[in-house]
Symmetry: C2
Subunit: 333 residues, 2 copies
DNA sequence: TTGAAAGCGCTAACAT
DNA sequence: ATGTTAGCGCTTTCAA
């Protein structure tokens, strides 16, 4: 493993000069810099991250804590984060908690988050008070993406407003019999997201003077399969609603599948709207309220980077914009 | 930031003893160990990974290079890897290349893979000769999961045999008019996977004395949307096949959607089989050849860990098992 | 069983 | 513009 000394010796300068030259610091003559870079290249030298990390106190790595990596929102945010970090030479260290949360203890119990990362981005998780405190006391920048957590900085959409806008789109179309495919609190995941989306639904109905029919609300997790099953239950009711607001696009797609199976024409007999603009939304012609998950990842990474660069922390609750995308699953009743 | 010295001082022993006690090394009296552990816990001490990395030459981190993290196979393998690593205290450092591969240069050009990880797992990527050489010369254990790469160690299914088995399932059911939704070579991704799956299809037909109809083969990427479009094109032909072998479950699901849109009964008028046992396969009642992506991730991680522990490297091509899962999308013509 | 001390490879003052 | 040198926090001989 070639070290900085090898490069210094080979190019006839001191290690300090090599260090300066390679990192693009000032006070190195162009000729020297070029020579050093050439020998470094030739020797295949790369600085040891352990050594420079020890010397500088910086690891050039960001911890990203995710509940899992197979759902659209999480994987997309993760890609946004990684893209941003990669561009500035930062590494992404993944902490995949797993939905069951067996490893949470290991991750949080003052273990790995510490000393290996310069900052931490957490996705849409539910934290115990102890975990929250540990995150806060980490001493380095932290942000949560996707679901507000009291006491921690946060970046995400306005869950309640988005749910309300989706419901109002349906109401605007003339629907008054509206059902809701609600999210269910999942262990380890932020419970506020399903709660607020449901609340937004209820608020929209209330504001329009429409009564909430509890029998037209079904709960499931945010995925296609569960959404389909919930919709199957809901649509079996008589009477059934003329429109459905699903708490996520995946659930909406599940509802679409259920409607097809039951021979219910969409949007003829049933309108469906979701939230996300999932990768499959376009394929299914789904009307939805789009949120930019990739952009949220980038944005969160940028914020952390800026803080690490010495910028003073910005306001603690950042709201990102959403847009209604009308496609083919909503129409007047 | 509490250091080992703080712990040593607080517990009245030397740093060496603290180090030994905390890492579970022998030659520490039970009483001392307990005392050290208690003060460490109380002080919230965690060893700096930079410092121990520098001292030992081990980073306790594994590099995982993925083309992206939003497709089922990749995200699932990644979760398997992370689960295994987490259990032994290793960290996962993610290198998300992005399909467009803009960042490949940065990752590979003797940069970050080096000195930050003890081993590297790469997923199903296509490497340039230069990249391959860099991986091989990294000096630490390396393995590729998901698509064989000449000159690198590999773990995965037997692509050709699996495709053949899927096709033979269709033939066994009595089909002779069989089409294929083939994968397309995607930039940066291993081209052998779509190629071999197509070859397996052709071999199976050949062995059964059935002619290949080129007009019944359509190409697309491995995803649902593209699979649906390819199936739409293919099923528009007259005559059309009575069965379809899709190179992936996502494509098969796309075909299922296409068939529904065209009013073609599955499996009455059209049988469909895929490969993977994707999370959605069950929801769609899809017959498929299952591969255990999570298990492959675990396995790959285990192999790397074993080698790091000094075990001699195992044979270089590891095949993992697959199983046919008959569900509701295949039947006799 | 425990401690002293020499590094691991790099960075950052401080000199020159 | 370049060199010298003292750490960064830990592990690991080697002694005791």
């Amino acid at each position: 493993m070639t070290s900085i000394d090898d490069v210094a010796r080979a190019s006839g300068v001191s290690t300090a000069t090599v260090s300066r030259a390679l990192r693009g610091l000032p006070n190195v003559s162009p000729a020297t810099r070029e020579a050093v870079m050439a020998t470094a290249e030739q020797l295949g030298y790369v600085a040891s991250s352990s050594a420079s990390g020890l010397a500088t106190g910086r690891t050039l790595a960001m911890g990203v804590v995710v509940p899992n990596v197979s759902r659209w929102f999480y994987s997309t945010v993760l890609e946004g984060i990684d893209a941003e970090l990669r561009a500035v030479g930062y590494d992404t260290i993944l902490f995949n908690l797993g939905l069951k949360g067996e490893d949470r203890e290991r991750v949080f119990h003052r273990s790995i988050l510490r000393k290996r990362t310069d900052a931490v981005i957490a996705l849409c998780l539910d934290f115990t008070p102890a975990e929250r405190e540990q995150l806060a006391s980490l001493g380095h920048p932290t942000i949560v993406v996707g679901g507000p957590v009291p006491g921690l900085r946060h970046l995400g959409i306005d869950e309640l407003a988005v749910a309300r806008a989706a419901t109002e789109h349906l109401i605007g179309l003339g629907h008054r019999d509206i059902g809701h495919l609600a999210g269910i609190p999942e262990p380890g995941l932020n419970k506020r997201v399903p709660q607020r989306r449901r609340r937004g639904f209820e608020v929209a109905l209330g504001a329009a003077g429409i009564a909430v029919h509890p029998e037209w609300i079904e709960q499931s997790d945010f995925q296609i399969s569960a959404g389909r099953e919930a919709a199957l239950r809901l649509l079996a009711r008589d009477p059934r609603p003329t429109a459905l607001f699903a708490a996520s696009d995946e659930m909406a797609i599940g509802a679409l599948l259920a409607a097809r199976e039951l021979g219910i024409d969409v949007p003829g007999k049933l309108s469906i709207i979701g939230i996300d603009n999932h990768a499959l939304a376009e394929t299914f012609g789904l009307t939805t309220i789009a949120q930019d998950a990739f952009g949220q990842g980038r944005r969160a990474a940028q914020l952390m980077l800026a803080e690490l660069a010495g910028e003073t922390p910005r306001p603690s609750q950042l709201r990102v914009a959403t847009t209604l995308i009308e496609r083919a699953t909503t129409a007047s009743p």
